[in-house]
């Protein structure tokens, strides 16, 4: 009995498969458990010729691991002459970048611009 009660019924997080437009939307939760997922998703884009836009407007929580992945992504793309454009960056993202001293490397828009 306890086994059946343990697991609630539910479907969670519906993600639509990656759209053809190179807009990358970050999920609300960017914690360590999500880091590998983020990495795998971004890996497909890192060498893409099309411009990449990142929408970080929905992020509720982000940790250093995820910021670090984004940093490496932005840096590598810039090095290849293909900068990344930020469509939006929620407060947790800009705060994290500031605290970690990564604002410049991430080329984040200032807080005002980000609030869409």
């Amino acid at each position: 009995m306890s086994r059946s009660r343990r697991a609630p019924v539910a479907t969670k997080k519906r993600r639509t498969s990656a759209s053809r437009a190179q807009t990358f939307v970050l999920g609300a939760e960017c914690t360590l458990a999500d880091a590998r997922k983020l990495y795998t998703r971004l890996k497909k884009l890192v060498t893409s010729r099309a411009p990449v836009r990142i929408d970080a407007g929905k992020v509720r929580r982000i940790d250093t691991a995820n910021v670090q992945i984004l940093t490496a992504f932005v840096r590598d793309r810039r090095a290849a002459g293909r900068p990344v454009e930020w469509l939006a960056a929620a407060a947790p993202v800009t705060d994290a970048a500031r605290l970690l001293g990564l604002e410049a490397m991430l080329e984040l828009p200032t807080a005002q611009e980000a609030r869409s």
Binding site: M1, S2, R3, S4, R5, R6, A7, P8, V9, A10, T11, K12, K13, R14, R15, T16, S17, A28, E29, L32, A33, A35, R36, K37, L38, Y39, L42, K43, V46, K58, R60, I62, D63, T64, A65, V67, Q68, I69, T71, A72, F73, R75, D76, D95, A96, L99, L100, G101, L102, M105
Partner: protein, 734 residues
């Protein structure tokens, strides 16, 4: 009946068992001869509170016993008696007796009074004799440990704004140990004015990045009226997993007061006599800050690859390794500190309540999914606003579900904390010298997983000590230190939790394993096996390496049971071994049993969930690229290997939409090291699903690991790929 006390019994038992655990942990840290007064205080308080509780509830036997114990502890606390080995053993025995009494009372069973009386007699005898005579007490009773740390604690005593420079160099596995620099930095920011400079020079190219490794390092300047301790507190949990330098630069004349990771023990002990300490165990951990151990330095040197070794101050001793030093003095086993969770801001909640909450949340999620589906088909002026509201609802639901899920997560220290005692007893029994090292004990696991991982771990640790580690004389002869090490480690790895039991013993005995397997007919006489294949043999049912079942690892339980238990949790277990150097068992477990990331696929009118972790690729095959192998079905070439195709509709007896391979899709999946292509009609989407057991009302079905409920309320089955691969193999063979 004025007041029914029985309603409080459960809480009393829970708290008492927990208190006994912390008492045991404190006892195991107690230095013979020079005990830490705060530890004795902790032990005393436990006995005192159990005495009080049991008297209140009328458990007179327990009250009487703890009274004697309390008297003894009071003598120790007052320095009128010395902590000797016999006394320490007696105290540990008392813990066992109290536990047994509490269990008996809880289960409404009679107490084994003979055993109680024996130990109580010993206690009273010891008090009467003022300590056992056999060991002469060292001169300085309970010397406060300040003396030795005097050099380290050089923070200026003066108050006022100070400028701190903090050099924070995390080790690669910092994240995996549950530490987030972001959290520390935001905490630091609350202390004063902060400026941060990041060092990203070690950050590799994106392609070479380990998404869970930490490559960044920081130099932080912090200004304000800040005590050094406050800064240390911020880094408290990360101290074993980073290099940390905290430097005060108030003015030129003070020679830069440098402090190290390890707090001077004195700071924690200040005012300990009166403090009703909730950080007993944490404080105790820090108080081990004695001179450095070789282990500690080794660990630091090897872990900080990009840093100059010389930069590591020699006084540094991470808490987990600090006990290593201790082991060199103590002849028996030693015990690192495992901080039990002692947060004061917590409440005790019955698991059923959480499960109920989880179920209700699950229902809500389904309702929400239903509404979302409805919302999509709506039209009219209100539709957009309605959908926006739904999107908000969905976000909130997700958060709610995550929060509830997190309530079930507990640090693995709950399991690890039983090992110091076990290792100590076992080492004593077997005449071996064992040092137990524990790292990553803050790693969190789902409660259900946690409850079930204890037994397999106990078995592995037992095994390591019994079979892995050699006797001291054998070790010395082999040029190893006499004290063997068993290392328990837990960390995040690729979205899973890896728990390792490592020892530096003799390693697995290949020849003997092979011989045994041959004699049991598990391996043919002429089969040639690789080392890995030989090691795998120990997990076969009916295999036991012990020549005869010993008291320690006998019990008719073999590695096959360990593997089965781990498998039941959705995990895997592997072993690596190097002759003469030791063995390492790695258990990989899912973060939680309740949720899986899945790819939904359709076959005919049915929907199935394929766990995302098993999927390598999905592709469409061209007509003609598939070969059939006589009698064994179809294969096609994928990345240079021939992968068998399993037509899911055939296996499951479903009427499909696509019968020709090029009309549907092939999902390449991996299970137990084998790859197959699942032929399905179509891919539907990816989603996280909450796993429901089929077992509860039905039973196990090979090839199906469970079920989940989709947004429309219907049920979808979750595929168990190893099971499917096995099934397909037996079908092909038949």
């Amino acid at each position: 009946m004025a007041l029914d006390l029985t309603q409080f019994h459960a809480a009393f038992f829970d708290e008492s068992f927990e208190a006994l655990d912390s008492m045991e942990a404190a006892l195991l840290q107690l230095d013979i001869g020079a005990p830490d007064p705060e530890l004795i205080n902790t032990i005393f308080r436990v006995a005192h509170s159990i005495k009080g509780g049991s008297a209140t509830f009328g458990f007179t036997e327990i009250a009487s016993f703890t009274h004697s114990l309390e008297t003894l502890l009071d003598e120790l606390r007052g320095g009128r008696m010395q902590v000797t080995q016999p006394i320490s053993d007696l105290l540990l025995k008392s813990v066992d007796v109290m536990r047994a009494m509490l269990r008996a009372v809880q289960a409404k069973q009679p107490i084994d009074m003979q055993r109680v009386a024996d130990v109580q007699f010993d206690i009273e005898l010891a008090i009467a004799q003022k300590g056992a005579p056999e060991v002469a007490a060292p001169a300085a009773p309970a010397a406060p440990p300040q003396a030795e740390s005097a050099a380290g604690a050089a923070a200026p005593a003066s108050r006022g704004p100070r400028q701190w420079q903090i050099r924070f160099r995390p080790f690669r596995e910092l994240f995996a140990r549950g530490n987030d620099p972001l959290r520390m930095l935001s905490e630091l920011e609350t202390l004063g004015r902060m400026s941060v400079r990041v060092d990203a020079s070690a950050l590799p190219s994106f392609a070479a990045l380990d998404p869970e490794g930490c490559y960044l390092a920081w130099d932080i300047e912090l200004e304000g009226d800040i005590e050094e301790q406050a800064i240390h507190d911020v880094f408290d949990w990360a101290e074993g997993d980073c290099e940390l330098e905290i430097r005060c630069v108030p003015s030129r004349e003070t020679p830069a007061a440098e402090s190290t990771v390890e707090q001077p023990a004195g700071q924690h002990e200040d005012g300990a006599e009166t403090a009703e300490s909730s950080e007993v165990t944490n404080g105790a951990a820090a108080s081990e800050g004695s001179p450095v151990s070789e282990h500690a330095v080794d660990a630091l040197l090897s872990a900080s690859d990009q840093d100059k070794a010389s930069a590591a101050p020699a006084e540094r001793a991470p808490p987990a390794a600090a006990a290593a030093e201790h082991a060199e003095h103590a002849p028996k086993a030693d015990t690192p500190t495992i901080s039990a969770v002692g947060d004061s801001g917590s409440i005790r909640v019955a698991v059923e309540k959480i499960d109920e909450l989880m179920n209700t949340v699950g229902e809500l999620v389904i309702t929400q999914a239903m509404l979302s589906q409805l919302g999509r088909s709506l039209e009219g002026p209100m539709a957009e606003r309605f959908r926006a509201g739904l999107a908000q609802l969905e976000r909130n639901m997700r958060e709610l579900q995550d929060s509830v899920m997190r309530v079930r997560m507990l640090p693995i220290s709950f399991v690890f904390s039983r090992f110091p005692r076990m290792v100590r007893d076992l080492a004593q029994k077997l005449g071996k010298q064992v040092e137990l090292r524990v790292t990553g004990e803050h790693t969190e696991l789902d409660k259900t997983v946690l409850e079930k991982i204890g037994d397999p771990l106990v078995h592995l640790v037992r095994n390591s000590i019994d079979h892995g580690l050699e006797k001291p004389e054998v070790r010395v002869a082999a040029g190893k230190p006499p004290v063997g090490t068993v290392h328990l480690d837990a960390c995040h790895r690729g979205g899973c939790i890896a728990v390792e039991v490592r020892d530096d013993g003799a390693g697995l005995d290949k020849e003997r394993i092979l011989a045994k397997a041959r004699s049991r007919g598990l391996v043919g006489p002429n089969d040639v096996l690789t080392d890995e294949q030989i090691y795998e043999l120990i997990f076969l049912p009916g295999f036991s390496t012990a020549e005869q079942a010993t008291d320690v690892s006998g019990r008719g339980v073999g590695m096959d049971v360990v593997r089965r238990n781990v498998k039941e949790l959705g995990g895997t277990i592997d072993v690596r071994s190097e002759p003469g150097k030791g063995a390492c068992f790695t258990i990989t477990l899912p973060l939680t049993l309740a949720i899986v990331d899945g790819q939904t696929v359709s076959v005919g009118s049915e929907t199935y969930i394929v766990p995302l972790v098993s999927i390598i690729e999905s592709l469409q095959v061209k007509p003609g690229s598939v070969n059939s192998v006589a009698g064994c079905g179809e294969v096609f070439s994928f990345r240079g290997e021939y992968v068998p195709i399993i037509r899911l509709y055939e296996l499951f007896g479903v009427e499909p939409r696509a019968r020709e391979l090029h009309e549907g899709l092939i999902v390449i999946v991996e299970g137990e090291g084998r790859r197959v292509g699942l032929f399905v009609d179509d891919l539907l989407g990816q989603q996280q699903v909450v796993i429901k057991s089929l077992d509860a009302n039905f039973g196990r079905v090979e090839g199906i690991s469970g079920a989940t409920i989709l947004g429309d309320g219907s049920v979808a089955l979750i595929l168990d790929l190893p099971g499917i691969i096995r099934r397909a193999a037996t079908r092909a063979a038949a």
